[in-house]
């Protein structure tokens, strides 16, 4: 062995990113002027940008850009591709997925990946301007894979939630950390996958962990400093409004779930955030939590200034099918009325009056619903559910729902909603178990169907609840939909194809094979007058839950930017 004095000096370890050819290290200072007012007017005032998670506070995922349209979309080609592999071992090595929605500010794209990745890219060329990689514990509890759904931008900073339930603020020019706050307890089974939302001078996040018996909550922090403003629990403690829907004795409420792991929508006039909440816990064993279990599986309208719950609507009372309602409430106007539209895991499309969360209309949007029935007045009748210990029951939709978390879109131009639909059943067998922090707390064994499944993209008229068109294929649909003023509806499938449809007829106009399945929320933007469609590609996550027939689908780590030839 060499002696001490003979050692070669290896120096100080360097940042790994500096060994990446083409790495720039900084971005133009475009995010400095992004603020609440700009985000409020984002869609109309600056359609070339995609400033916030859904493209606007209303959650419509609709763009006014129309350069790419029904007449020329056939010529759409990849303009550039950004690839990110991984080095070493990371959590959820087999379940990572590229689920983000890229934000774009004046030619700079901000996009998150799995495992703590955040990149700033040149939106015109795909060049990597900077990267931030949050070290993520290998052993964090993740029910549904190593994923992240996106970031928020304001005040010269980019905000990202981490797997271990931190919210971080990064300098938008360099990616350097500005502040860091912890908002969840990983020892309790909490984590975070949500894309933050900027509202006023706050950044809003929500917790994950509904399969581990946590108590779901949303949190608000000051943009500038990271100082905590409020926390809002989605399951009340004894004595609070809603606590009467939980057993009076015991601690079922304390393990009750109701996580909000998807970004809320926001109505500035009503000054209300619309959080959607996840399943009650344990997912399938309702016997230990008799009652409706508020505010799980609900839309919860929250005052952003105080974190106080103002109103709610529960889509699936006393859920025993794992029917999270975390997916978006899309805000829209109908007959001069402030409404919201929501496609729930339980297979029903709900139109609410969003001023008080009262029901206007409810209709089924998937062909097979056997778990129960919701009548036109919203009355819920459960029919098939795991009840007796050890007794298997089969029901449609399965626990991933008739629509997973991936988002629908709404076009004000057509007045139609566009929904990615999964028609997949499952068998659940109740297996009661003790609760222990950080251990999965389902209360059942579950096997999702691998055969007799299908999927479709459907267009719905909220005025009538009628389906206007449908594009059917053999795979459950697991990617968000994007609608544009170019008359297009775009989404992708599990087998890798990315499609463009005519928004009025449903005619398939264009497709491109991306090499891995789609499980993300693409966005659109323009730079120097050229429109792009940004599509993160990388199938995975809770595949065994929404489409086990695609468990062997190739993973991916690419972001495609499509554009018309110059």
């Amino acid at each position: 062995m060499a002696t001490e004095t003979e050692y070669v000096d290896a120096g100080e370890a360097v940042d790994f990113r500096n060994l990446s050819p083409g790495y720039v290290g900084n971005a133009p200072d475009v995010a400095k002027g992004v603020n609440y007012d700009r985000i409020l007017k984002a869609r109309e005032a600056e359609p070339h940008n995609w400033l916030t998670y859904y493209g606007g506070y209303d959650g419509q995922r609709y763009s006014l850009l129309d350069q790419i349209n029904t007449s020329n979309v056939k010529d759409l080609k990849p303009a550039w591709v950004f690839q990110c592999g991984s080095v070493g071992m990371h959590s959820g090595a087999s379940t990572y997925s590229f689920e983000a929605s890229p934000l774009v500010v004046d030619g700079v794209m901000y996009v998150t990946g799995w495992d703590g990745w955040m990149w700033a890219l040149d939106a015109k060329t795909g060049a990597e301007l900077w990267r931030y990689h949050r070290a993520s514990p290998y052993d964090v509890s993740l029910c549904c894979g190593n994923v992240n759904r996106g970031c928020a931008v304001a005040d010269g900073k980019v905000f990202m939630a981490t797997l271990n339930a931190h919210v971080t603020a990064l300098d938008a020019k360099t990616g350097a950390l500005v502040w860091d706050q912890v908002f969840g307890d990983v020892r309790a089974g909490e984590s975070a996958t949500v894309a933050p939302l900027i509202v006023k001078d706050m950044v809003i996040v929500g917790s994950s962990g509904g399969e581990f018996g946590v108590r779901g909550h949303a949190d608000a922090f000051k943009l500038e400093t990271g100082e905590r403003v409020w926390r809002c629990y989605m399951v009340p403690e004894p004595g609070q409004p809603g606590s009467e829907t939980w057993p009076a004795d015991g601690e079922a409420w304390a393990r009750g779930g109701g996580n909000c792991w998807i970004t809320p929508t926001y109505d500035e006039e009503l000054n209300l955030l619309y959080f959607n909440t996840g399943n009650p816990c344990p997912d399938f064993d309702g016997g230990v939590r008799e009652g409706d279990n508020l505010f799980t599986d609900s839309v919860v309208a929250v005052d952003p200034d105080t974190g106080e719950i103002k109103s709610h609507y529960q889509y699936t009372p006393h859920d025993v099918w794992d029917y999270d309602s975390t997916m978006e409430n899309i805000l829209f106007e109908m007959d001069g009325r402030k409404c919201s539209g929501h496609f729930d895991k339980n297979g029903y499309f709900f139109i609410l009056d969003r001023t008080d969360c009262s029901l206007i209309r409810v209709v089924p949007f998937v062909d097979r619903i056997t778990w129960g029935e919701i009548d036109s007045n919203g009355k819920v009748t459960a029919r098939v559910f795991p009840d007796k210990e050890g007794d298997p029951v089969h029901f449609w939709p399965g626990p991933a729902g008739a629509k997973e978390w991936t988002h629908a879109a709404y076009s004000p131009k057509t007045g139609l909603f566009y929904c990615p639909v999964q028609d997949v059943g499952a068998t659940a067998t109740r297996r009661r178990r003790d609760f222990k922090e950080s251990i999965p707390y389902w209360g059942a064994g579950v096997a999702v169907d691998t055969e007799d499944v299908s999927g479709y993209v459907s267009a719905f008229d909220p005025a009538t609840g009628q389906e206007k068109w449908r594009f059917t294929q053999e795979h459950p649909m697991t990617a968000s939909v994007l609608a544009t003023a170019g008359g297009l509806v775009l989404t992708g499938g599990p087998a890798g194809k990315y499609w463009a449809f005519n928004d009025t007829t449903g005619e398939l106009l264009w497709e491109f094979s991306c090499g891995s399945g789609h499980h993300s929320s693409p966005s659109t933007y323009s730079v120097d007058g050229r429109q792009y469609i940004a599509v993160p590609v990388g199938y995975g996550a809770w595949t065994e839950g929404f489409y086990p027939g695609a468990l062997a689908q190739a993973g991916g780590a690419a972001l495609f930017a499509f554009a018309l030839p110059e």
């Binding site: 062995m1 060499a2 003979e6 050692y7 070669v8 000096d9 290896a10 120096g11 100080e12 370890a13 360097v14 940042d15 790994f16 990113r17 060994l19 080095v87 070493g88 071992m89 990371h90 990267r131 931030y132 990689h133 949050r134 070290a135 514990p137 290998y138 052993d139 964090v140 981490t162 271990n164 339930a165 931190h166 990616g175 350097a176 950390l177 912890v182 908002f183 969840g184 307890d185 990983v186 020892r187 309790a188 909490e190 018996g213 946590v214 108590r215 909550h217 905590r228 629990y233 403690e237 601690e251 304390a254 393990r255 003790d434 609760f435 222990k436 922090e437 950080s438 251990i439």
Partner: protein, 156 residues
């Protein structure tokens, strides 16, 4: 044993030893084995530790390094092997990389959250598969303000 289901035969001690060495039972050393070490608190507010790569063992020693809490770690890495290796180490912001030629030593400053554990490895050839994959374990709890407002719950 009577009344119990036996799922495996008793493993001979030599087989156990063979799992922890190069070209014994396996081709490399099975991951997650080796010595366990603890970082020390420094007067500079950082934690300090040394990890070595012993001659012909293709492992980091200690294989499991424990930090008493989240924070900054100043890690000395010494390659006592007569081959070149490297390390890609976890740290908030970006991984840290250091190249380690035969008989070299260097340092890495890491910033890690806790609780939880992290893998790191030598990304050259299949060093990682042969055994040059170590863990850093961060102990402790999250801050009180991040915890759930509920009565204490049972843990496994």
């Amino acid at each position: 044993m009577e009344g119990e289901t036996r799922v495996t035969a008793t493993v001979d001690e030599s087989v156990m030893e063979g799992l922890a060495k190069q070209n014994g039972v396996t081709l490399g050393r099975v991951l997650g084995r080796g010595n366990v070490g603890m970082a020390e608190e420094g007067s500079d507010g950082k934690m300090h530790a040394t990890v070595r790569i012993p001659l012909d063992e293709l492992v980091f020693d200690p294989g499991v390094l424990i930090l008493p809490h989240a924070g900054d770690l100043e890690l000395e890495i010494i390659n006592d092997d007569n081959n070149s290796h490297c390390a890609v180490l976890p740290s908030n912001g970006d991984s840290k990389f250091i190249w380690l030629v035969n008989f070299s030593k260097g340092t890495a400053t890491l910033q890690l959250d806790g609780p939880g554990y992290y893998w790191y490895g030598s990304r050259t050839g299949n060093d990682e598969g042969r055994g040059l994959t170590g863990t850093i374990v961060v102990t402790g709890e999250v801050p009180d303000e991040a915890k759930l407002d509920r009565p204490p719950q049972p843990r496994p």
